[in-house]
């Protein structure tokens, strides 16, 4: 603490006295300080973000004029009825949630051993290199990473070219839900690796030693010690992979096939193309509800601390 002694020995200056009084006041009234500190962020958040969400929710009870597509402020439940009664929208919701779950599981399987290797096996230098290797893709353009996958998976693309050279024939993955699953798993993978790595890295070595000393085998240690302690990290990662998949429309738009409508696409089309904000808002309540439940469970599992 490089507090200069001179500073502490000149209490006579009025400014400093005021500061000290203020410090004392805050020390005895931590509430005030909390409010002052939290005030601006909360106000900004509450004002803009919550007000936006509320406005959105309110508008889901309105309708649009079919010809001019202008919003008419007539309260009704028509949008929700359309969503619940039409099998098409159910299909889309289930498809999205299903792929989101598949992406999450894929990423967890890919990320866990890598995270474990980085956190507990690799030497510091290797670890640093792996870390940059995981971080860099996150910083390079998302759109281009999606687009390059289209070039890889195309019928005459790089994957089939490679398979052909190896004499393995070809696969028709392009423009399908398989492609969407692969690309989502690819682009969100770093979001899973990093929290998993963080959680694994925080496990004290002594716990693992204790487990071994008590006679547990490698698998038993993994199951009874490592996995439970790493779970918050996996759940934190899954919040990202799950929520990002629920809200994305670009990947299905660029790489999807004839049956690749996702929740994000319906919302995007309703807002960006049909100008039907009320319907989009009504449909957006599905991912909203899914994520709310997901977040509550995640908080129970301690994922917020691991994020």
């Amino acid at each position: 603490m490089a507090v200069r002694a001179a500073d502490l020995q000149t209490p006579g200056r009025p400014l400093r006295a005021a500061r000290l009084r203020l410090t004392g006041f805050f020390w005895s009234h931590p509430w005030t300080k909390a409010l002052l500190l939290l005030g601006p962020p909360l106000l900004a958040f509450g004002l803009v973000y919550l007000a936006s969400l509320v406005a959105l929710f309110v508008s889901s009870f309105w309708t649009v004029n079919p010809f001019t597509t202008e919003i008419e402020h007539a309260w009704n439940l028509g949008n929700f009825r359309t969503i619940f009664e039409s099998p098409a929208y159910r299909t889309i919701a289930f498809r999205t949630i299903g792929i989101a779950a598949a992406v999450t599981i894929t990423d967890a399987i890919l990320a866990f051993p890598l995270g474990y290797f980085m956190a507990r096996v690799a030497r510091p230098r290797t670890r640093a290199m792996l870390f940059v290797a995981v971080l860099l893709p996150l910083w390079s353009s998302y759109l281009i990473r999606v687009y390059i996958w289209r070039l890889i998976l195309d019928q005459d693309g790089i994957l089939n070219w490679t398979l052909g050279k190896l004499g393995l024939g070809s696969v028709g993955l392009a423009y399908s839900n398989w492609a969407v699953w692969i690309i989502f798993s690819y682009v969100w993978l770093p979001f899973m690796i990093l929290p998993v790595f963080g959680a694994l890295e925080r496990i004290p070595e002594s716990l693992l030693e204790a487990s071994r000393d008590l006679g547990a085998g490698g698998f038993q240690t993994l199951r009874r010690v490592v996995l439970p302690l790493a779970l918050p990290g996996v759940v934190a990662g899954s919040i990202f992979t799950f929520s990002l998949t629920l809200g994305d429309y670009v990947t299905p738009l660029l790489a999807g096939g004839a049956s690749s409508q996702f929740i994000g696409n319906v919302v995007y089309q309703s807002v960006g193309i049909s100008n039907n904000v009320p319907f989009a808002a009504a449909f957006a309540t599905i991912p909203l509800a899914v994520m709310a439940v997901y977040l509550l469970i995640a908080r129970k599992l301690g994922a917020f601390e691991a994020m």
Partner: protein, 376 residues
């Protein structure tokens, strides 16, 4: 060439000699505001004619591309309609924009080339209401059938090829509710008993027949393309061999030496007639007027026609088209007869009150919903 550029530059600078009509329309084009925000179809704002425009007028062009008329209408309304100065609206968007009060009347007398437009596009019903012009016509053309000449043999002559299982998994059509009209157009010839006269005016039975046809088509589809580049990539990389298209994709693919060709099948085609319209809240109206004048000049009209593969509104563009690309004027029916013009079923917004005097047609909301259900 240089003379031409100079002439065009001069055309932009000449204040149109005060032919005011006393209805609040500007009678001269003032000084440019330095910027112009446009919503355009892909290929409508190419550097080839945007760069010289920026140089001549000082109006810096920012373009946002839209892949459907619906998207154009929505973008025009984004943020209270103050974001964009103009839009290259097709016939199915233009009326929605006019009745939604998103666009403002313009004075065609400020566009020197207006008088050279083919008569059908000077005051067409899709952009002129009661003698008030809500925009300046631009180009028009048909939606075509695109196919891979190496893999699709014999060459197709009918739209039936995109509905038949022969090329299953290798077909692509636009991701656009207006595509229902293409199905209806095909049915009007393939199943005359349905009595479809106008593919945009369908009663419940006719509409259901079109939707059923599209449902049968769905398993054949590789991808419903939403962006022009989707279809280009599908054809480039062998994922699709036949599909409904714009000539833009054909031209781009041919420029990249991909073996493709397109045609208007024997059933005819749907098509578009585009209009540059000015936003009701345009922040750069002078630049927009200058832009509308610029894209109406014969040279730009010819350049765009060849680049996109469509037909200019300005008849003076036809000889220039032939200098730029011999034979192109005939290929794209430049200065076409009224009968050819009428043979294309131009996009328009389906409304309940259709031409038969009854009120039983499916409106556009029904079209949109059916399309979403189809794709789910």
């Amino acid at each position: 060439m240089h003379v031409l550029v100079a002439a065009m530059a001069a055309a932009l600078c000449v204040p149109a000699a005060g032919i005011g009509s006393g209805n609040g329309l500007p009678t001269t084009i003032g000084k440019g505001e330095g910027q112009l925000n446009l919503i355009a179809w892909e290929g409508y704002t190419q550097p080839q004619w945007v760069k010289p425009f920026e140089k001549a007028t000082g109006c810096q062009v920012h373009a946002k591309y839209a892949g459907s008329s619906d998207e154009m209408v929505t973008l025009m309304r984004q943020g209270g309609g103050t974001q964009y100065d103009g839009v290259s609206a097709s016939g199915d968007a233009s009326l929605r924009l006019i009745y939604g009060k998103d666009v403002q009347p313009v004075n065609p007398n400020l566009i020197p080339d207006f008088k050279n437009f083919i008569p059908a596009l000077q005051s067409p019903p899709h952009n002129t209401i009661g003698g008030v012009h809500y925009g300046i016509s631009l180009q028009w053309g048909p939606n075509t059938l695109l196919y891979n000449t190496k893999l699709v043999k014999p060459a197709p002559t009918s739209w039936s090829i995109i509905y038949s299982p022969k090329y299953k998994g290798k077909v692509t059509v636009p991701d656009n509710p207006i595509q229902i009209a293409d199905a209806a157009l095909y049915l009007s010839k393939a199943q005359p008993s349905l009595g479809i006269k106008d593919p945009y005016e369908l009663d419940q039975a006719q509409f259901n027949a079109a939707i059923n046809l599209l449902k049968q088509q769905k398993p054949l589809i590789k991808k419903y393309w939403a962006l022009a580049s989707d279809e280009i990539d599908l054809f480039k990389n062998g994922d699709a061999v036949v599909g409904a298209s714009w000539p833009y994709q054909t031209n781009t693919l041919k420029a990249d030496k991909v073996a493709v060709a397109d045609l208007i099948p024997k059933e005819g085609a749907t098509g578009w007639a585009d209009t540059w319209m000015m936003s009701a809240h345009a922040k750069h109206p002078n630049c927009m007027y200058k832009w509308m004048a610029w894209v109406s000049t014969p040279k730009v009209q010819a350049e765009q026609a060849i680049y996109f593969g469509e037909t200019p509104a300005n008849t003076k563009a036809c000889p220039i088209m032939n200098t730029l690309s011999p034979g192109s004027a005939a290929q794209y029916h430049c200065g076409a007869s009224a009968s050819y013009f009428d043979s294309i079923k131009f996009w328009k917004t389906p409304v309940a009150a259709c031409g038969n005097g009854k009120n039983d047609c499916m409106d556009y909301t029904a079209w949109q919903q059916a399309w979403t259900q189809l794709k789910s």
